[in-house]
Symmetry: C2
Subunit: 350 residues, 2 copies
């Protein structure tokens, strides 16, 4: 651990008695996993995976960049901060088992807010069977920063990377896409209204689904469980964090293949379609480039089609081609377009 060099720690943090609150919040954590041998409170946590492979992923969330505290409840923020990491472990076809949490906290954040943040993180841990085994808490001179590392396990033969997609494999995606992006657009619209006229109540009526997609996403553990039940081993997999076009491109690049997907096969919720129309946005563009849906995008061998064809969790949206670097989308009028990876920044400029 590194000591704080700031000789004048901010008041709200120093009243916690060198982060006594965090110690208090973490000291009663009961370890759930067999692989968790020692949790919070020593120089390092001790884990034991035996014959399993260990998966490690990390994500950093910065206030003002990844989240806006004006419309993000702390409990939701804690939940989402954990979920985005668990999603990366599921995307390897693994089971998340532990997380570490590092926080940098400014003096604007109250003790109650930190309690809510931890409540959300521990709720996600409980639901997904994950142990919080360590971390670091320090002061920040500006905003809130959350850095989480998730650890998971998988049998060697079960691990799915981005590299294994082959010609004729089917491209599948779980759930539906574009909702998280529309939720963000809605929140940003109402924020603008609020900034111009703070007494006007925000208009979120009928938009629960997109708000939940943005503020409280769920990782697709159920899809990983389904693979085991149906005896499916995906050939490549990634979670949809950047947007379908960008994430599919990652799989194709690393697998050295091409792809063709069909616009009319892309699963989009009707509330997303309606809200997109209201905001003069093309719902397909939102699904392709929106990101943050945390659905699983994966490829399976053609032979596995029968196993998956009746699943309501998953849609087949296209297939892998042998033409490396050729990424195509066929629109509803059956016109073929080049699929361009744009990601969030690009779409925000439209």
């Amino acid at each position: 651990m590194l000591e704080d060099k700031n000789p004048n720690p901010v008041n709200d943090i120093s009243t916690l008695g060198e982060f006594g609150l965090i110690n208090h919040l973490t000291e009663n954590i009961k370890l759930q996993n067999k692989s968790s041998k020692l949790g919070v409170g020593d120089d390092a946590a001790v884990l034991e995976f035996k014959s399993k492979q260990t998966l490690v992923t990390t994500d950093m969330l910065v206030e003002g960049v990844h989240f806006d505290l004006l419309y993000t409840p702390f409990k939701h923020l804690g939940y989402k901060a954990v979920v985005v990491n668990l999603s990366d472990i599921y995307a390897m076809n693994g089971t998340p088992t532990q997380i570490t949490v590092s926080l940098a906290v400014s003096n604007r954040i109250s003790v109650e807010a930190l309690e809510e943040l931890y409540e959300g993180m521990l709720l996600a841990c409980e639901i997904y069977g994950v142990d919080l085994i360590g971390g670091d808490t320090t002061s920040s001179l500006s905003g809130l920063i959350i850095s989480i590392t998730a650890i998971g396990e998988a049998d060697k033969k079960e691990v799915v990377t981005r590299k294994g997609a082959k010609e004729n494999d089917l491209i599948c995606v779980s759930g539906d896409l574009g909702g998280a992006f529309m939720g963000l657009q809605l929140l940003e619209r109402e924020k603008k209204v609020y900034n111009e006229a703070p007494t006007v109540q925000p208009d979120f009526d009928g938009h629960d689904y997109v708000l939940e997609r943005q503020l409280k996403p769920e990782p697709r553990k159920d899809v990983i469980d389904m693979f085991k039940e149906l005896g499916i081993q995906p050939t490549a997999m990634i979670d949809v964090s950047d947007g379908l076009s960008s994430d599919l491109t990652h799989i194709c690049k690393q697998s050295k293949v091409g792809c063709t997907i069909y616009e009319n096969k892309i699963p989009i919720d009707f509330t997303v379609v309606n809200l997109a129309a209201e905001m003069n946005l093309d719902p397909t563009v939102c699904a392709l480039n929106g990101g943050e849906d945390y659905e699983l995008l994966f490829t399976i061998a053609l032979d596995d089609y029968n196993k998956i064809k009746d699943s309501k969790r998953v849609a087949v949206i296209g297939h892998i081609t042998g033409v490396e670097g050729a990424y195509q989308i066929v629109d509803k009028a059956e016109v073929v377009h080049k699929l361009v990876a744009q990601g969030w920044d690009a779409i925000s400029k439209q």
Copy 2:
């Protein structure tokens, strides 16, 4: 991974092409460890520890809190950011094997600075045989934030926690103490001079040792290797990050024992003694409360004394007592004082 919500990414970062530089800097990393199966570039890294236990530790470094870019070279900062994490793995009697690195970077940081930061991190990785296997890079609205998670391995029977110290065990510490703190005092003194008169050159003559202790500490891998050579299994261990008094208290509290240490046994380098005198500081107080020395503080059974007594790496500074909660220091005049854990903030106010 979570997408940036900031629709106007800062220029210097966007010119890197969605952190193309970081990808470039990390894509040529060669994995050194057998346990590293898959590194940077997928949803998660894949590791394999087989019969070994896995150790996990994490630390977050915040600009303005943990480091001051006015006097911290980026290469040193990268090196130190890795070292403070490796030190925690060694303090479990383990061998560090992998790290993940998350960075939040403001637009004040140039591409060259990031290159130097990575150079320092990769140098530490190379020297200590560690693989950089993943991470996350994002923009920051204010300073630079570095969050590193280190992973290591150890045989189950070799792991040393803070809990095993027993009555009559000897208290030992590697190297010498107080140097990093004196280095910081010196840097802060010269910063003050610089702020008052920017044309005056800083006066660092003859102070290489304390500056290196502060800016480029080394973790004590050699001490862990020595334990194996001499057949020593410490009963408890911690790295000295908060200061001797605070860290020894951690061991005693978790082991439910007391301790007595002797002022005249505490190893302090003569350059530290001289500089402390020049600054009207008590060198023993600096050693007790200074922190950031990253030496190893450990206890061994009395029976192991003969194995360690000739080692130049280690000093025996006292012993564990059976009186839980009684922490004592015997001064040079043989007067017994209560040992109070203060840590860095306290001493800075003296």
